[in-house]
């Protein structure tokens, strides 16, 4: 039976990591080996969840002020713009972030790294983009931390980002890195993206113009989500 539904668009080669990437050891037993099936685009793929402001709590965008005392470490402001492939702002996109504290420790029961927890830092936040696709949050610059991937393995400083755009297929989970971090060349997760340009787009930029004198440096991190398809491509099977 001939299927005439348009197929879901796949990524430009090199701009996304492969599932199987042995330098990151956990991929070896968890990556699929059978060929991925091209999914026809149906109403299931064209729709997706939309989140409301009601679910955002006070201080969800200020990770330094979620407890009685102030979080320890270098205060920073992170901001950026979320756009789709056509450059249009993605409005009302839910962004969830999580990260280690300044000492490189996550408030998570399986993080056994011998570094102190900060009672005033949970390391999680969430917010919605505005009408121009912009977001903003305040946090503590996360520290690097060791992990068990290989001998003397250290993750470069990073903040995890989870995003929902227009339609479930625009879903993205990624990590934001910091400029000039000397650990990046050694990190298999960062280097799992083959294309140098695509990799560097995960590195935020120091933004002196948005920095707050005597208070906090700012970092800019723009994100591009897969968009819903241009209808002119309908029927063009890829």
């Amino acid at each position: 039976m001939l299927i005439e539904l348009p197929a879901v668009q796949t990524a430009i080669p090199g701009t996304q990591p492969d599932f199987y990437f042995p330098p990151y050891v956990s991929t070896i037993a968890r990556s699929p080996r059978m060929p991925l099936v091209l999914l026809p685009e149906t109403p299931t793929e064209r729709t997706g969840p939309v989140f409301g402001h009601e679910m955002i709590r006070k201080n969800d965008h200020d990770l330094t002020a979620q407890h009685e005392g102030e979080a320890l470490g270098e205060r920073i402001v992170v901001h950026g713009r979320v756009r789709d492939e056509d450059g249009r702002p993605v409005r009302g996109a839910l962004i969830e972030v999580w990260q280690a504290n300044a000492a490189g420790r996550y408030r998570h029961k399986v993080d056994g790294h011998d570094a102190p927890l900060d009672p005033n830092f949970s390391g999680a936040g969430r917010f919605l983009t505005d009408d121009e696709g912009r977001y903003f949050f305040k946090t503590i610059k996360p520290g690097p931390y060791p992990w068990g991937n290989h001998y003397n393995a250290w993750r470069p400083a990073h903040i995890h980002f989870s995003l929902f755009g227009a339609g479930i297929l625009s879903r993205l989970v990624t990590q934001m890195y910091f400029p000039g971090d000397p650990l990046q060349p050694f990190d298999p997760i960062f280097n799992s993206i083959p294309d140098e340009g695509a990799r560097q787009r995960l590195v935020s930029k120091l933004d002196m113009a948005r920095s707050q004198p005597d208070y906090a440096l700012a970092y800019a991190f723009d994100i591009v989500l897969r968009g819903s398809h241009d209808t002119s491509f309908e029927g063009a099977k890829r």
Partner: protein, 187 residues
């Protein structure tokens, strides 16, 4: 293709500590749905060696019982209807109670069999996986346009089985790699 296209940002793994950032949405959402239409779906996420994946996050996107998708916020707490998120336990298991979706019309007289789109995130998954889950014994399985794209022997990896003694309980395992590897879709 337009020359102005921007390249989507690269994906990175959720890592082992995603619960601190993503747990808030687990188990949230509408809770006042009719119990008559409610099903429970449970199963395990397994790796190449059949070992439980205890740090996977699953997200489900589904239509309502009439086959319509909620494309907007439809609940007072700001949580969308039709979206579910669940993390796996130490033994790799998950369990969700939700409304069984109806068959979804394609607009040209054809229907998709009742199904849910499922996203799989985990440490070791640099990109998330996309799959679908269908419901065993549904008469529309045979005409579902997505299932028809998949070879008969692999199709069964997308079909949750039900316990004849309790038809409201479905079991579905996700196998990331190996002999019974679940069908995953390209993106």
């Amino acid at each position: 293709m337009s020359t102005q296209k921007m390249v989507p940002s690269g994906s990175q793994t959720v890592g082992p500590y995603f619960r601190i950032g993503l747990e808030d949405l687990v188990g949230k959402g509408p809770g006042n749905e009719s119990a008559l239409e409610t099903i429970r779906i449970h199963g395990k996420v397994l790796d190449r060696d059949g070992a439980p994946v205890s740090d996977a996050l699953l997200e489900f996107w589904r239509a309502d019982s009439s086959g319509a998708y909620s494309d907007g916020v439809s609940h007072l707490n700001g949580h969308p209807v039709g979206f579910h998120r669940v993390g796996t336990e130490v033994d790799g298991s998950f369990s969700l109670t939700l409304i069984k979706p109806g068959a979804t019309p394609l607009g040209d007289g054809r229907f998709q069999a009742p199904h849910m789109l499922v996203l799989v995130f985990a440490r070791g998954l640099l990109r998330h996986l996309i799959t679908r889950v269908y419901f065993d014994q549904d008469p529309t399985l045979a005409v579902d346009p997505v299932l028809l794209e998949i070879t008969a022997e692999r199709r069964r990896t997308l079909i949750a089985s039900f316990d004849p003694s309790d038809p409201q309980v479905y079991e579905w395992n996700i196998v990331l790699q190996g002999d019974n590897e679940t069908v995953f879709f390209a993106w």
